[in-house]
Every structure is written in structure tokens, then in C-alpha cells.
């Protein structure tokens, strides 16, 4: 009985603390961070949006996507991203991986199918298809592909856009990031930024 009474008493003190902390931590803190972000890094705070010319913007109306998010590439002449398990593919409203295990028959079948399809699309033996090309990322929104997967796609993209392979390779190079400080992460190619560059380079020829 005595314990129950003290539990009740402390719950009341707890309630007062919770209300105070909700004001400080649940409104003051996030709104302060939002305010600082608006001033210090407005582009990042609003999702790192880019326009069709590759310029930064904070206006979703003129953006073609986010530099941080992969998107479906519904054009067989452009660089293709990794497979995605987010919704119907690259849907930020249901970000996730497949969560299929290493022995999952479903995953094994999917990898086999993707390997065959990519090898046929690029006209190479299946052994040359790199691992990131046949596996879905954790977020389903991975904006990057490996340098190997980009290199694999260069001949197809160059031919489709009447560009020389060297020119396209130079564009890939331009949109490749190495390891941060030489040690963090993996070298990677941003697919959206690369496709924007390819589209722009091909624009005069397309007339």
C-alpha cells in the first residue's frame, strides 16, 4: 500500500517533469535545430534537391530528384541504378531492404535472374556483372553504383547517345567519389548526377 502510494506520488512528479521536458526537448530542441539548419545549410535541410541541369535547389517544383536518393530510371539509354526493394522500386514512402537471408531461395533466384538480364543488356558474360548490380540495398534508395557497374554500362550509354566511350567515361570519372579521407566507405558513382550529365552532354546532338 505504501509502495503504491509512493508510486502514485512519484508519477505526479514524473508527469510534471515529462511536461517540462516535452517543451524543451520535444519542441524547443528540434525547432532550434530546424532554425539553425535553415540558416546554416538550407539545401541539405530540405533534402539536397537538384534540377535537370544539376543545380542545387530547395524548390521541389523545379527539382528532378535528390542528390542523396536513387530513383527509378525509366529509360534504357541511361545508367541504371541497383535493384531496389523499396515499394515498387526507389519509393521513399516505403524505404527498406529485401531482408532476404543468405540462403533464401527467393534471393538466389532473384540474383540469378538479374545477372542474366544485365549480362544480356550490356553484352558481357555473367561473370563480369559486379555484386552491387544484382543486390538490393538496405534502404532501397541507394543513390550510388560501384565504379565497376558504371564501367560496364558505358558502351551501351555512349552508343545510345551518340557520344564516344571516352567522353562518357570522363563523365563517370567526374561523378565518382573516392573513399572519404582515403579510408571511409567505398568508391561510388552517383547515378542521378551522372544521368543528368549524360543527358546534358547529348542534348545538342539530340537537337
Amino acid at each position: 500500500m505504501k509502495d503504491l502510494y509512493s508510486l502514485f506520488r512519484f508519477s505526479l512528479a514524473g508527469l510534471r517533469l515529462l511536461v517540462a521536458m516535452t517543451l524543451v526537448l520535444g519542441l524547443g530542441y528540434p525547432l532550434l535545430v530546424t532554425g539553425i539548419a535553415r540558416v546554416a545549410a538550407p539545401w541539405q535541410a530540405d533534402g539536397s534537391l537538384v534540377t535537370a541541369t544539376g543545380a542545387h535547389t530547395t524548390d521541389p517544383g523545379e527539382a528532378v530528384g535528390s542528390a542523396l536518393l536513387g530513383q527509378l530510371v525509366d529509360d534504357p539509354t541511361l545508367f541504371q541504378p541497383r535493384p531496389s526493394a523499396a515499394g515498387d522500386g526507389y519509393d521513399p514512402l516505403s524505404s527498406y531492404g529485401s531482408n532476404l537471408g543468405p540462403e533464401s531461395p527467393e534471393l538466389v533466384a532473384a540474383i540469378r535472374e538479374r545477372r542474366a538480364a544485365i549480362a544480356e543488356r550490356e553484352g558481357v558474360p555473367v561473370g563480369e556483372v559486379p555484386p552491387d548490380a544484382v543486390t538490393a540495398s538496405g534502404s532501397g534508395l541507394d543513390p550510388h553504383i560501384s565504379q565497376a557497374y558504371a564501367a560496364l554500362q558505358v558502351p551501351r550509354v555512349a552508343a545510345a547517345h551518340d557520344l564516344s566511350e571516352d567522353d562518357v567515361r570522363a563523365l563517370v570519372e567526374e561523378h565518382t567519389e573516392g573513399r572519404t579521407l582515403g579510408i571511409l566507405g567505398e568508391p561510388r558513382v552517383n547515378v542521378l548526377e551522372l544521368n543528368i550529365a549524360v543527358t546534358r552532354a547529348a542534348a545538342p546532338a539530340a537537337g
Binding site: 530542441y29 528532378v64 542523396l68 516505403s94 531482408n99 538466389v108 555484386p131 552491387d132 567505398e186
Partner: protein
């Protein structure tokens, strides 16, 4: 191999950053938990709360304060979830179902952050920032307060069961430590690319004529405390794999740093509170050693990439982000399960069989290497008591830890602590695997399916919160089972810890004698590591053998 050098250097940078900051933060924490002076803002808070911050509470009163405060937290968050549709900034999302709202309320108040829902498809911004972010701070603060009370219990002599003041511990933890660090970290995360706004999803027309929803939200402010408080609940479903939560390899390492900062600093502060820095360093070393081994094992497993699917793809990249690569993903996986964080930057269900097995084992260890904020410290100290007890038995003397006798009553309490979580894990897993509602949630069959279920119950009972995400857990059965595991796995051990703190506080502090086992030497570090592994090994080997071990050998 060219991968090895960057992998090692990445760890070296992390160790260097922690080496510089942990002693500083440890000193700040020790000061917060021992100083008699209050800051002006704190005094205002205590007056508003109508509590006396200088009242030295008996452990029973301290425990009642913890429970009363947490009870209110659960009820408030439950109400928040149920009333979501009527609140501003709800983005049109409906109320959470009863079982789901309860599960989430328990999950965030217990510092677990198990998530049955998908953030971007179920929660509005107000629920995220004024409900979940607040509990991220407070649940972390509660864990740290209890650890501080335990350290004080060991440091005192003849304290008549008194272990300090919960309200002062909690308020100081939040205002002096967590809030300032989180504020700086959140701003740095925004600069690195993490989103921070109050906008709903905007549709943009993509390059090839489709459209894509760009999701907004107060993400950075939640991300910072999610890692710093070892909470782990993602703003988005994909958690720290989502580019808006963890955009670059740099932000990845920064988040890993934030996760480890407080758990290690708590160990450092422990040494200062008991008046012998070496004691804290010894505990910290055990934590570091166990973590280093698990980092090495998961990294090796993921780089070697055993298993049918990784072999076929020529790399274990399913569920991993290209920007982090294998090394950045494996390090995160080891750190998030070695602490009770549970944030993920790679899908653990898709880890290789040995890699996923080590992640599971990390949680089974009881979240002590280095564990959650506060809970990691008191968990490790419980095992330290077990270690001196076992060594005392071997030489036939009454064992003591830091001058406190480990008698019958003390060791009964420690045994209760050590047994609580394994009972929850094994009974909970058995219930899940015998109920059709439990089996219905599994994505896969065979050993991997078993691991999915055991992983979920282990994660909940140890307050980790990470998942083998193939499990469909948003059902009344799983929400109820896992919610119960989280609740019991958090508060039963806490009450035991406080009871033991009270007993220790009452005792005098004996001077070390010839038969005293020194608890700051390398020998003790080895013994404690061994005890941690043996206690867990003996408990869980059968279920590990049927799950990840069988899968690794297949």
C-alpha cells in the same frame, strides 16, 4: 587485399576520436553525479517539479521514482499514438492500433526502440519529435541515472541504503550532457546532408518522367539523440541505411562515434565516482576487447561473404549501401548490437550467417560491450561481481568488490539479474515458436526462420531494438510478446541493480587485504571477459547451434 588498410584505418580514426573525448565526457559525467551544486536552470526545474533535489533517496524511493516516471512516460506516449490523427503535423496519418501504440510506448520508454511500424508511413512529425525524440532523451537519462546510483552505492560507506536523488540525476544528465551534445551533433549531421524541416512529402518529377516523393521531417534532431542515447529508432523505416538519416561515409563514422561515446564515458566516470580511475579503465578495457572481437568477426564474415546468395552475387552486398561498403556496414552492425542501440545501416536479416550470428550473440551478451548508456555499465558491473565471487570461491574467502562484501544476499540479487534476461529470451522464443501467430510472422523457414524469431525476442528482452527485418512483427501477438519482453527486460534488472546499490551503500568499505582480488589488473580484465563469454555461452549455445551455426555450416 586493398580493403584491409582502409578498414583498419577507419577503426583507428574511431578509436582516436573516442580516446580524445571519452575521458573528458567521463569527467563531466562524474562531476554531474557527485557535485552538490545545482545550475540556475536546474533549480528552476526542481521548483516547478516541486521536488527536493538534495534529498538523498533510499534505494526503494529511487526505484519508485524510476518506475513512476517511466509509467507516466508509457501512458503519455500511448495516448500520443492513439490520438495522433487529432494532433497537428500528423500528415494525415491515422491513430496507431491499441497493441501497436502500447508496443511503441514501451519500446521508446525502455530505450529499446523496436519498431513494428514504418516511420514514413505511420507517424506524423509531432509524434516523432514531441513523443519519440523526448523519450530518446529521457529513457537514456533514466538508464544513466540508475548506473550513477549504483556507482554511488559502491563508493559510499554506511549510507543506510541511500543512493542519491533520481530527479537530480535525470535532470542533470539531460541538461548538462545529452542536450548540449545532441544539439551540436544534430547541426553537424544537417551539414553532412541529414534532412531537417517540418515539410510533408513533396512529389517531384524525376529525370525520366516518373515521380518520386521526397520525404521531409525533423530528422537530424532525432538522429543525433537516437545514436547518442543508444536508442536506435529510425525516423524512416530503413533507419540509418536511409540516405536522409545517414548520407555519407563521414556521417556513418560520426554516428558510430556518437553511439559509443556515452557508454564508454560512463565506464570512465565510474572509476572517478568510486575514487579509483583504474577501476573504470579496467571495465572499459573489457568492453573494448569484447567489442573489438565482434567487429573483427563481423567484418571478416561480411568480407568473406559465405552463403549461397553472396557467393552467387560475388559479394555480400544484399541489404548494404554502396557508400558504406562492407567495412562501414560491418562496423556499424557490431557497434549497434554491442551497444543496446539497434539502429541499422545494413539489413541484419541479410547479413551472412556467421555475421548475423555474431550480431545476435552481441545482444545475448546482455548488452555490456559496451552496452547501452548506463545499462551497459551496470550490466558489466554485475558480471564483475560474479567474477570476484567465482574467484573468491576458488580460494575459499568471502569475496569483495571495491571493499564491499559479496555475501549471500548480494549474490542472490546478482543471480536474479543475470538470469532475468535469459529467461525472457528463452521463454519468449519458445512461446513465439510454438504459437501459430508467432510462426505466421516469419519470412523464412529452417534455421534462418528460427534466427528471425530468436533475434526479435533477444533484441526486445535486451532492449536493443534491431531486427531481422523479414519478420512481420506488427501483429497483436508479436506486439504484445515483444512489448512484455521489453518492459520486463528493462525494469526488473533496474530494480535489482538499485536494491544491490542500496545494500552496498549500507556496508562499510573494507580495506583491501592479502586475499583481495585486485580488480584493476590485466588478470581481472581477462577473468571478467571470460566470465561474460562463459555465462552467455552456456545459456545460449543450443539455440545458436540450431540457428546461425547450422546455417553457417550448410
Amino acid at each position: 587485399m586493398s580493403e584491409i588498410v582502409p578498414t583498419l584505418l577507419q577503426v583507428a580514426v574511431l578509436v582516436a576520436a573516442l580516446g580524445l573525448t571519452v575521458p573528458l565526457l567521463g569527467r563531466l559525467l562524474a562531476h554531474a553525479y557527485t557535485s552538490p551544486r545545482h545550475l540556475a536552470v536546474e533549480r528552476v526545474t526542481y521548483r516547478a517539479l516541486r521536488v527536493d533535489p538534495d534529498a538523498d533517496q533510499h534505494w526503494r524511493t529511487y526505484a519508485m521514482s524510476v518506475l513512476g516516471f517511466s509509467l507516466v512516460g508509457v501512458l503519455a506516449l500511448f495516448a500520443f499514438g492513439r490520438l495522433q490523427e487529432h494532433l497537428p503535423l500528423s500528415l494525415g496519418f491515422a491513430a496507431l492500433p491499441t497493441d501497436g501504440a502500447w508496443n511503441t510506448a514501451v519500446s521508446f520508454v525502455t530505450n529499446t526502440n523496436w519498431q513494428w511500424y514504418s516511420g514514413e508511413a505511420a507517424l506524423g512529425h509531432l509524434m516523432q519529435m514531441s513523443g519519440l525524440t523526448v523519450q530518446n532523451f529521457l529513457s537514456a537519462g533514466v538508464g544513466m541515472a540508475v548506473a550513477a546510483a549504483f556507482a554511488r552505492g559502491l563508493a559510499r560507506r554506511g549510507g543506510a541504503g541511500r543512493v542519491g536523488n533520481f530527479w537530480a540525476d535525470l535532470v542533470r544528465t539531460v541538461l548538462r550532457v545529452l542536450l548540449p551534445i545532441a544539439l551540436v551533433a544534430a547541426v553537424l549531421l544537417v551539414v553532412m546532408g541529414v534532412v531537417q524541416n517540418l515539410a510533408g512529402p513533396h512529389l517531384v518529377d524525376t529525370l525520366t518522367g516518373g515521380n518520386q516523393a521526397i520525404t521531409g521531417g525533423p530528422v537530424a534532431s532525432q538522429e543525433a539523440i537516437k545514436e547518442l542515447g543508444t536508442n536506435g529508432g529510425g525516423f524512416y523505416n530503413a533507419n540509418s541505411a536511409h540516405p536522409f538519416e545517414n548520407p555519407t561515409p563521414m556521417s556513418n563514422l560520426f554516428e558510430i562515434f556518437l553511439i559509443l561515446l556515452v557508454p564508454f564515458a560512463m565506464a570512465w566516470s565510474f572509476g572517478l565516482i568510486v575514487g579509483d580511475r583504474r577501476q573504470g579503465v579496467a571495465v572499459l578495457t573489457v568492453m573494448g576487447l569484447l567489442l573489438a572481437v565482434s567487429v573483427a568477426l563481423i567484418t571478416w564474415a561480411e568480407m568473406a561473404g559465405p552463403g549461397t546468395a553472396p557467393q552467387l552475387a560475388q559479394g555480400a552486398l544484399e541489404g548494404k549501401e554502396q557508400r558504406f561498403g562492407t567495412a562501414g556496414s560491418a562496423l556499424f552492425a557490431a557497434v549497434t548490437t554491442g551497444t543496446s542501440t539497434g539502429a541499422v545501416n545494413t539489413m541484419h536479416d541479410s547479413l551472412t550467417a556467421p555475421g548475423g550470428g555474431v550480431a545476435l550473440f552481441n545482444m545475448m551478451l546482455g548488452e555490456i560491450a559496451p552496452g547501452g548508456v548506463g545499462s551497459g555499465l551496470y550490466g558489466m558491473l554485475m558480471l564483475a561481481v560474479v567474477t570476484v565471487f567465482l574467484c573468491g570461491l576458488m580460494v575459499g574467502r568471502t569475496p569483495e568488490y571495491l571493499g564491499k562484501k559479496i555475501g549471500q544476499r548480494e549474490i542472490v540479487l546478482v543471480a536474479a539479474y543475470v538470469l532475468t534476461t535469459p529467461v525472457l529470451v528463452l521463454v519468449g522464443s519458445a512461446v513465439a515458436l510454438t504459437a501459430s501467430d508467432g510462426l505466421a510472422g516469419l519470412q523464412e523457414s529452417g534455421p534462418h526462420g528460427l534466427t528471425e524469431a530468436v533475434y526479435a525476442v533477444t533484441s526486445a528482452s535486451n532492449n536493443n531494438g534491431s531486427a531481422f527485418g523479414g519478420l512481420t512483427s506488427g501483429t497483436p501477438f508479436w506486439n504484445t510478446l515483444l512489448g512484455s519482453c521489453m518492459l520486463l527486460g528493462r525494469f526488473l534488472p533496474m530494480v535489482v541493480v538499485l536494491a544491490l546499490a542500496g545494500r552496498f551503500a549500507t556496508q562499510p568499505r573494507l580495506p583491501a587485504g592479502a586475499g583481495t582480488l585486485p580488480t584493476h589488473r590485466p588478470l581481472f580484465v581477462v577473468l571478467l571477459s571470460g566470465v561474460a563469454l562463459v555465462v552467455v555461452g552456456l545459456t545460449y549455445v543450443p539455440v545458436l547451434a540450431l540457428g546461425p551455426i547450422v546455417e553457417s555450416l550448410s
